[in-house]
């Protein structure tokens, strides 16, 4: 029953949830960024164990390598360099937690009453044996998903140039 794959899935899930809770609880913003890093690594592990290897590697590259570095840059640039520890304050704590718990109850209720629940439970092969080969992913990108692929490339370029334009200094004439 408890083979290595199941133990790995459960431990990645526990790591993900605990580090996300750490992001919520901590008041030090840099610690929150590192908690988010651990959380994203745990999610990458979950992807790998779900048979989505390419997605797991992309998660590692883009999130852990790109977005986290961007966020830490943002923390460095938006905090005074007077050596004080950086605190992120809280407000509306009680209503926020109540709203989160309400949405949790709503989602669990939706799932427990959904029509696809039994069909998901009936098949017992949970971990795909082969996974999805990267080769078929590449073929799909270049055939059926060619237009979305090119569109998202253009969107990414436009957004990066636009964010450069937004964040440049105002008195920068050239």
């Amino acid at each position: 029953m408890l083979d290595a794959g199941t133990i790995a899935v459960y431990s990645f899930a526990v790591i993900t949830v605990i580090s996300a809770l750490f992001v919520l609880i901590t008041r030090h913003i840099l610690h929150a960024a590192f908690g988010l890093l651990v959380c994203l690594l745990g999610i990458a592990g979950l992807y790998l164990l779900a048979g989505a290897e390419f997605l797991g590697v992309t998660q590692l590259l883009v999130y852990a390598g790109g977005i986290l570095v961007l966020i830490i840059f943002g923390i460095m640039l938006t905090n005074r360099a007077d050596g004080k520890t950086i605190k992120a304050g809280n407000h509306r704590v009680i209503p926020g937690i109540l709203a989160g718990l309400a949405i949790f109850l709503l989602f669990t209720q939706i799932y427990s009453q959904s029509s696809f629940r039994d069909s998901l439970r009936s098949t017992d092969n949970n971990i795909p044996l082969m996974g999805h080969p990267v080769e078929s992913l590449g073929v799909e990108i270049m055939t059926r998903y060619l237009l979305p692929f090119e569109l998202i490339a253009v969107i990414l370029l436009v957004i990066l140039v636009g964010s450069l334009f937004i964040s440049k200094k105002e008195n920068d004439t050239n």
């Binding site: 959380c39 779900a50 048979g51 718990l101």
Partner: protein, 101 residues
């Protein structure tokens, strides 16, 4: 609990923690982290359903595009936060209230 149900549970918990972070935290960058958590929760859901689908490649493709959009969103949001910081000298969303009547 099967593996796919565990994935749903993780996804729901991450989404709720993301919403709590967005509502509770004052710092703009912390709010951005909450949004990233919520996007990741949606991605986990796509991957979980792709595990059971015969056409699993579509779910994985969708979450691949979602990751790219999340990267673009993070870049623009951080640029806006930097701009706001340069103007107001703070990233506390409670103190940015000039338009409040």
């Amino acid at each position: 609990m099967t593996q796919i149900e565990l994935y749903f549970l993780v996804s729901i918990i991450l989404f709720c923690i993301g919403i709590m972070i967005v509502l509770i935290k004052k710092n703009g960058i912390m709010i951005l982290m909450g949004i990233e958590l919520m996007l990741n929760a949606a991605n986990i859901n796509f991957v979980a359903f792709a595990m059971k689908s015969p056409e699993a490649i579509h779910g994985i493709m969708f979450s691949l595009f979602l990751i790219v959009m999340a990267a673009a969103e993070a870049a623009v949001a951080l640029a806006i936060i930097l701009r706001v910081y340069r103007f107001y000298k703070t990233t506390d969303v409670d103190e940015i209230a000039d338009l409040k009547g």
